[in-house]
């Protein structure tokens, strides 16, 4: 419990730190968090998959992200995984950890994207190290639910 609290609080501080100061734009701050997430994910997945075998295919990798990675980092699984089988995957989390203490509904909705940037990077970093190059974006319409969209870059 205590180590989860530390992770939650340090993430909170990371967000507030990059958004401090007048000089920095919203996009720049989000990019910084995303980069932190990427670097974290890139290294983390190496450690987490040290006991697992090789993955069968891309979908297998996505299932790994939804189950094992999410349980390790956020203590729950992704609630729903959808794909168009053409390289787009949508991960629904109905109760995303970083938003679950903030609101249930639309309050603070405008600030919610700040708390998703790190995680987008985390997913992108994990996938990058597993050989999947992609773009990860996130969307919230109602806290604490959110969805992450993974667009795999081919070729």
């Amino acid at each position: 419990m205590a180590e989860e609290a530390v992770f939650d609080l340090i993430h909170m501080e990371a967000v507030s730190y990059v958004f401090q100061g007048e000089k920095i734009s919203e996009d720049e701050a989000v990019a910084k968090l995303e980069h932190m997430g990427f670097a974290t994910g890139y290294r983390l997945v190496e450690r987490l998959t040290r006991e697992s075998g090789r993955f069968k295919d891309e979908l297998d990798i996505m299932k790994y992200i939804c189950k094992d990675l999410w349980v390790t980092v956020y203590k729950k699984q992704i609630d729903n995984l959808r794909t168009n089988h053409q390289g787009v995957y949508v991960l629904h989390d109905n109760r995303f950890r970083f938003l679950s203490h903030m609101a249930a509904g639309k309050q603070y909705l405008q600030y919610a994207p700040r708390y998703l940037a790190f995680t987008c990077g985390l997913v992108r970093g994990c996938l990058a190290n597993l050989g999947v190059t992609c773009v990860v974006t996130a969307e919230v319409t109602q806290l604490p639910a959110c969805k992450f969209q993974i667009q795999v870059q081919r070729g």
Partner: protein, 127 residues
């Protein structure tokens, strides 16, 4: 038994939150009995002939003040629950809530209401 209202103050005495459930203003009434009991563990209560006031103070000196009728029981446990399961979860771990500013989170207010309404002291109130 019934629960009237709740105040949360920070260490400087600034009010962070106020909530009320049942409140019948009874001004000018005489206090027949003022008796602090159980001074240990940051919990204090006194009783008049009309109501009972409960004060719970955390190690960080946040104060929770709850008014109930004179016979309500289990309020110490309820205040501890409000502190750990509502205040800590939805204020301390809410990045949108600056500490030592009045609480604006709607989720906090909703959870607080839920916890109070579910407490035996609230449920068993007479019609």
């Amino acid at each position: 038994m019934t629960i009237y209202n709740l105040y949360i103050f920070d260490r400087d005495g600034q009010m962070l939150h106020y909530a009320e459930w049942v409140r019948k203003k009874q001004s000018g009434m005489s206090r027949s009995q003022v008796s602090p009991v159980d001074l240990r563990e940051g919990y204090l209560t006194y009783c008049t002939n009309k109501y009972r006031l409960h004060l719970f103070e955390t190690p960080s000196r946040i104060k929770f003040v709850l008014n109930t009728d004179a016979v309500a029981t289990g309020i110490k446990e309820l205040l501890h629950q409000i502190y750990t399961q509502v205040y800590v979860e939805y204020v301390v771990f809410n990045p949108m809530c600056p500490l030592s500013k009045p609480i604006e989170s709607e989720l906090f207010a909703a959870r607080l209401d839920e916890v109070v309404r579910q407490s035996p002291a609230y449920a068993s109130r007479p019609a």
